[in-house]
Amino acid sequence: MNIVKNYQENRRKFLLKSARTIGLVVLGSLTWSAYLSEVKASSLILRPPAAIKEDDFLATCIKCGLCVEACPFDTLKLAKPGDNLPLGTPYFVPRDIPCYMCVDIPCVPICPTDALDEKKVKDENGAFEIRQMEMGVAVVDVKSCVAFWGIQCDACYRACPLLGEAIDIVYEKNERTGKHAFLKPVVDSDICTGCGLCEKACITEKPAIFVLPRENALGKVGDHYIKGWDEADERRVKDASVEIGKTKINKKSAVESLNSGMEDLLND
């Protein structure tokens, strides 16, 4: 009798203990996962040159800081607790220190995990080509850029290492005065590397030109529109998949539909 009682008690204890352990494990895992999805969601982060896609980057970067040590301008930082960014991953804030686009790109080849992929910044001959990097893209806030007011300023244009290519100055007549010109900075997003020298140079209290990650700043046309005058653009949509939307056609005759009253519509 005692054995049975003991057995039952032990079983109860075992079940209770297991339930408690499982409960704690689930609780811990959920909190942990919630934290991870939280830090993964911080998308407004600028990565070093040649960084692979953000999702792959987060999985691949081992957080060793070798790129940070290699950077001669102290541009790169590792996310510290309190930065609200994926902990330990490298990033830069162009407003503090922009990327100076070294020709030998020391931060990239030192990466031991290939989270910074050399191939992305090499040309066909295997030579480093810093202009191929896509860290971000500069965006102009036309309302707070004084050049759009008519005040002459070309600070960002002059600061750009790809002067005249990544940022161009567009002349326009100033109708308000009738005798002056606007000299508006316009960014070519195909060429801009997102180094942030323009943002650093901007004269306004809070820069009117700033670098955003490309996914956040750029739109995407998709396959519906092509430039018919541009052969290259036709090649872009060569593999487009065709989606045909079909509306169901009413099989009834018009008179019948009109005579049927509202029941059909209501019942459906």
Binding site: S29, W32, L36, S37, D56, C64, G65, K80, P81, I110
Partner: protein, 268 residues
């Protein structure tokens, strides 16, 4: 007198000089040991990587580069031979924090008030499993993004931020909540290293003939379960031993010493 602290001094020298090498590499560019404990570059040639971090990256779906795989392999082989958790007491900077909390516990006589420890020391092995599972589902190295160990040593090299709070939390936890709480119960990195060191050759051995059962070793040992054989039999300590050698120092009977394991003899 110094004989009583020879290993402790050697350990502190080892821990601090390793950290110092990382710090001078980052600040002054003296590149003997670059990076941090996640991945280091020794003399600009050999990569050394944390095998636990690399395992998590594999589960997260990262493509592992050759450098990192080789680096993790070298580190794993090293600790496989000399005892996995010697990392904990000879390299890891968190050890200094938890050791000082432990020391304070002894000075303030907390241990005499609260003898029994309510928590399981196997939690760390479960945490290894859970960090692999979460890494797999979240696509990031899960423990690396919350690891206080990485946070502290990365913090010391690259700037601490709120990482200081982590240090204080670990210290207070070990002092007031759970004896040897972090290193002895929770840290999955230590758990991973103790799995690696399962068959290590260099171990502390207990010599039953010389032992007078004074139990001084059990007072200082941070992983008290590894000394289960004290006063009972002559055998090497268990895998959780961090090779801190405090037991060797405090033993007045010379009953504990580092020895090479003899597997042939052990099997009988």
């Amino acid at each position: 007198m110094i004989k009583k602290y020879r290993f402790l001094i050697a350990r502190r020298v080892s821990q601090i000089s390793i950290m110092a090498l990382y710090i001078v590499a980052n600040i002054y560019g003296i590149n003997i040991l670059m990076g941090n404990l996640s991945t280091s570059l020794v003399l600009n040639t050999i990569t050394l990587s944390d095998p636990f971090a690399v395992m998590q990256m594999i589960f997260a779906g990262a493509i592992i580069s050759f450098d990192i795989a080789l680096g993790a392999f070298i580190v794993a082989i090293f600790y496989f031979t000399i005892g996995g958790r010697s990392f904990c007491s000879w390299v890891c900077p968190v050890n200094i924090i938890t050791d000082s909390a432990n020391y304070l516990r002894r000075v303030l006589k907390f241990d005499e008030v609260q003898k029994k420890q309510p928590a399981t020391r196997n939690l760390r092995y479960w945490l290894i499993l859970i960090s692999f599972i979460i890494s797999y589902f979240m696509g990031v190295a899960a423990f690396e993004l919350i690891s206080p160990v990485s946070m502290v040593h990365r913090g010391l090299v690259f700037g601490l931020g709120f990482g200081l709070a982590t240090i204080i939390v670990i210290f207070l936890f070990d002092l007031f909540v759970l004896k040897n709480g972090w290193c002895g119960h929770i840290c999955p990195l230590g758990g991973f290293y103790s799995l690696i060191g399962r068959f290590s050759l260099l171990r502390v051995h207990h010599n039953h003939e010389k032992c007078t059962a004074c139990m001084k070793c059990k007072v200082v040992c941070p992983e008290i379960q590894v000394l289960h054989m004290i006063d009972k039999s002559s055998e090497p300590v268990l895998q959780e031993c961090t090779s801190c050698a405090r037991c060797i120092e405090v033993c007045d009977d010379d009953a504990l010493n580092f020895e090479l394991r003899n597997y042939m003899k052990e099997k009988k």
